[in-house]
């Protein structure tokens, strides 16, 4: 058995059933060992998308996503995928091939210091120098990636280590013992009781949920908790879908692109519980000012997030699911019926907006109708740009999930992430919604649809502009446009036919429901191009 065989054996022991990646000489021993291993090797078309596909896979399977690429340029291309996962705390194990260990540091062909390059956006990284370390390293990598605040772990494996023979292969059982890594899981019960007492006293309580609830799979218990105590909930972008968007206790997304009702709730509440959300700049701008005069509770699994952007009155460190379980066991009365009435009256507040539905497809209304027509448990993957904001503001989420690149805002995320999500559960309907800019950043992955039998649905909102930046230049630079014109776009009908993918086009809102139905029917790949007013704005 060589190092590569050992790696595959470890991955099998971790229950891995698909790896997204790309080949190259430095990782070839690994792919050789993968053949006939029973783990599917899914070839992407550029390494960045191996990271995104693994991320989509992780978010739907609730397991660690795995990707593997070669040294040098392969590893460098993967970096954006790793950083994107890191910003959203997605558990990944990323394997990179490395040049011969004796040549490291001599700038040989396709050598790059990837552990050094990735240091500030991985949870941990390893450069394996001894083949006998492989089982321990892989065991630790999966443990680190999937516990505490989740995140990507990088394992750099020189080619000679993959080829070296390994004696006495033994995969450790149970959780690894690491003296320096002990993530906090249970929240402090005294603090939890203190919060319960504050909830009892509060006249205007509010919970702002983030991606942490999804990551700890705490949605069912969370829903039970807010229904029990009738506590209103708003969310960050990463927290969309924690409650179904039509839930009576849900008041929308906060932040600079959020709902008026949600932002008013944030402003007026007297007790704010940030739950699995890191008080990021896009959700809470100027936190010291916004949160002044309120009792702020911050619940996060990462102690470093608490107090980073805002000093909370009551901090709780721990895993969301455990903490909600504790909350459910505490009996307390709530007393804020008036507050709910006030918030409900804010629901009708919507920014005055006139989007042209006669000459173009109104993207806001389209997202609403599309997501309503999708299956109850479908996955909606929004890309980055105006399409993302229209999606966040209008997507109807029921029992399914809403995914997007929140922290990093990586264009081109949606298609590979949707492919990864579909690979995680082929029974699900998966729809990627992108703009014409983000589509062109990952359209090479259309090839994966057939090769790996991953029939996803793709919407391209076409406005011939990099719309969100155009909108920014409209406001900030008085329409002095530069570097935002997407002239020279491909003909998407012919592109779809080149990949043998069904193509649907909508020019305006007439018969839009028919077009959507045609697009969504059957579990087959389809691309829907909708023509959007180039001058439409999200605000």
């Amino acid at each position: 058995m060589n190092g590569a065989d050992a790696m595959v054996k470890c991955l099998k022991a971790e229950g891995v059933e698909a790896i997204f990646g790309y080949s190259g000489v430095a990782i070839d021993p690994f792919w050789q060992a993968m053949k006939d291993s029973g783990i599917e090797s899914v070839l992407v078309r550029t390494e960045q998308n191996a990271g995104h596909a693994a991320s989509g896979y992780a978010r739907i399977s609730k397991k660690v996503g795995v990707c593997a690429v070669t040294s040098g340029p392969g590893a460098l291309n993967l970096l954006t995928g790793i950083a994107t996962a890191y910003a959203d705390s997605i558990p990944l194990v990323c394997i990179t091939g490395q040049v011969h260990s004796s040549l490291i540091g001599s700038d040989v062909f396709q050598e790059v210091d990837v552990t050094g390059a990735a240091e500030s956006f991985v949870k941990y990284s390893y450069l394996i120098k001894d083949v006998s370390d492989i089982p321990r390293v892989i065991k630790e990598a999966f443990f680190i990636a999937s516990t505490g605040r989740k995140g990507p772990v990088l394992i750099d494996v020189p080619q000679d280590i993959q080829e070296a023979s390994i004696m006495d292969f033994n995969y450790p059982e149970g959780d690894p013992v690491m003296r320096t890594y002990k993530p906090t899981v249970k929240g402090h019960i005294v603090q939890i009781r203190k919060v319960a007492r504050e909830l009892e006293k509060a006249k205007k309580p509010l919970i702002c949920v983030g991606g942490g609830i999804h990551l700890s799979q705490a949605e069912p218990k969370f829903r039970q908790f807010v229904e029990k105590h009738k506590i209103p909930v708003v969310s960050t972008m990463m927290g969309i879908g924690v409650l179904p968007t039509a839930h009576p206790m849900y008041f929308g997304m906060v932040g600079n692109n959020g709902f008026l009702s949600a932002n008013k709730a944030m402003k007026e509440c007297d007790l704010l519980i940030m739950f699995g959300a890191r008080v990021a700049d896009r959700a809470v701008s100027d936190p010291d000012l916004t949160l002044d005069g309120k009792i702020v509770v911050h619940i996060d699994v990462d102690p470093a997030e608490i107090g980073k952007n805002v000093g909370p009155a009551i901090p709780i460190v721990g895993d969301a699911d455990h903490i909600i379980e504790d909350f459910l066991e505490i009996d307390f009365k709530d007393n804020h019926a008036d507050w709910l009435d006030t918030l409900n009256s804010y629901r009708t507040l919507k920014a005055e907006r006139k989007l042209d539905g006669e000459h173009f497809v109104d993207p806001a209304e389209f997202v609403h109708r599309l997501s309503t027509a999708m299956k109850e448990n479908a996955i909606y993957v929004a890309d980055v740009g105006q399409n993302q904001i229209f999606s966040c503001q209008n997507c109807v989420v029921r029992e399914g999930e809403f995914m997007t690149s929140g922290g990093m805002g990586t264009m081109g995320y949606s298609i590979p992430a949707a492919l990864g999500a579909k690979r995680a559960d082929r029974s699900l309907q998966v729809v990627a919604v992108c703009g014409d800019g983000s589509f062109q950043m990952s359209m090479m992955e259309l090839a994966m649809i057939h090769q790996w039998k991953l029939p996803i649905k793709i919407v391209v909102m076409r406005n011939n502009y990099l719309g969100l930046v155009r909108e920014h230049q409209h406001y900030a630079y008085k329409d002095n446009y530069n570097m935002v014109d997407l002239g020279g776009e491909p003909n998407l009908e012919r592109l779809s036919s080149a990949y043998d993918i069904k193509y649907i086009r909508a020019e305006n809102m007439k018969d839009i429901d028919e077009r959507i139905k045609e697009f969504l029917e059957k579990d087959e790949a389809a691309l829907m191009e909708i023509m959007v007013d180039p001058y439409a704005t999200v605000k």
């Binding site: 552990t115 050094g116 240091e119 500030s120 949870k123 941990y124 450069l127 680190i144 690491m178 003296r179 320096t180 890594y181 990462d302 102690p303 470093a304 107090g307 980073k308 000093g311």
Partner: protein, 161 residues
């Protein structure tokens, strides 16, 4: 405000760059950094002096704690600890200033550890403030070069941290 961090880390390759990288990536200051083995060869101790506002100083500790190679962190200010710095200063001297330099060396409880016809090397092992004072005293004559260890510190014997 200044704070001293005694950071016990796994004695592995790459750990220094991970810790130093954290400081630069998050715009934390490093006023001084000294690294050495502890009584356990598998463990190194990094003594880092940093300055910043309270929130930054707290973040430094929390972010360091997130690093998986970090075993333990102790933090203290200068009153709670004994801190020392070793410095070697090479100066050019002549007949007219030789006496004055030697008086200063005596007054500062420093030592002359090497000497030639017109150069001498002074060693001082003292608090960082007094090491700085030594430089000031010698600034009137020509300093050729200086090497210093950076601050080393341990909490006082009676102080509970």
């Amino acid at each position: 405000m200044k704070k001293i961090y005694s950071v016990l880390v796994e004695n592995r390759s790459g750990v220094l760059s991970k810790v130093a990288g954290l400081f630069s990536r998050r715009s934390f200051n490093i006023d001084s950094l000294a690294v050495g083995e502890t009584e356990d060869r598998a463990v190194s101790c990094m003594t880092i002096v940093s300055s910043g506002d309270d929130r930054t100083l707290e973040q430094i500790e929390k972010q360091l704690n997130k690093k998986i190679d970090v075993i333990k962190i102790k933090t203290y200010n200068s009153e709670q600890s004994v801190s020392r710095e070793l410095m070697l200063i090479k100066v050019k001297y002549n007949k007219s200033n030789r006496r004055e330099i030697m008086e200063n060396v005596d007054a500062m409880k420093a030592d002359i550890v090497d000497m030639s016809e017109n150069l001498m090397m002074i060693q001082i092992c003292d608090t960082p403030e007094r090491a700085q004072m030594m430089i000031k005293l010698l600034s009137g004559i020509s300093i050729v070069e200086i090497a210093r260890t950076g601050t080393l510190a341990l909490p006082k014997c009676e102080e509970k941290i």
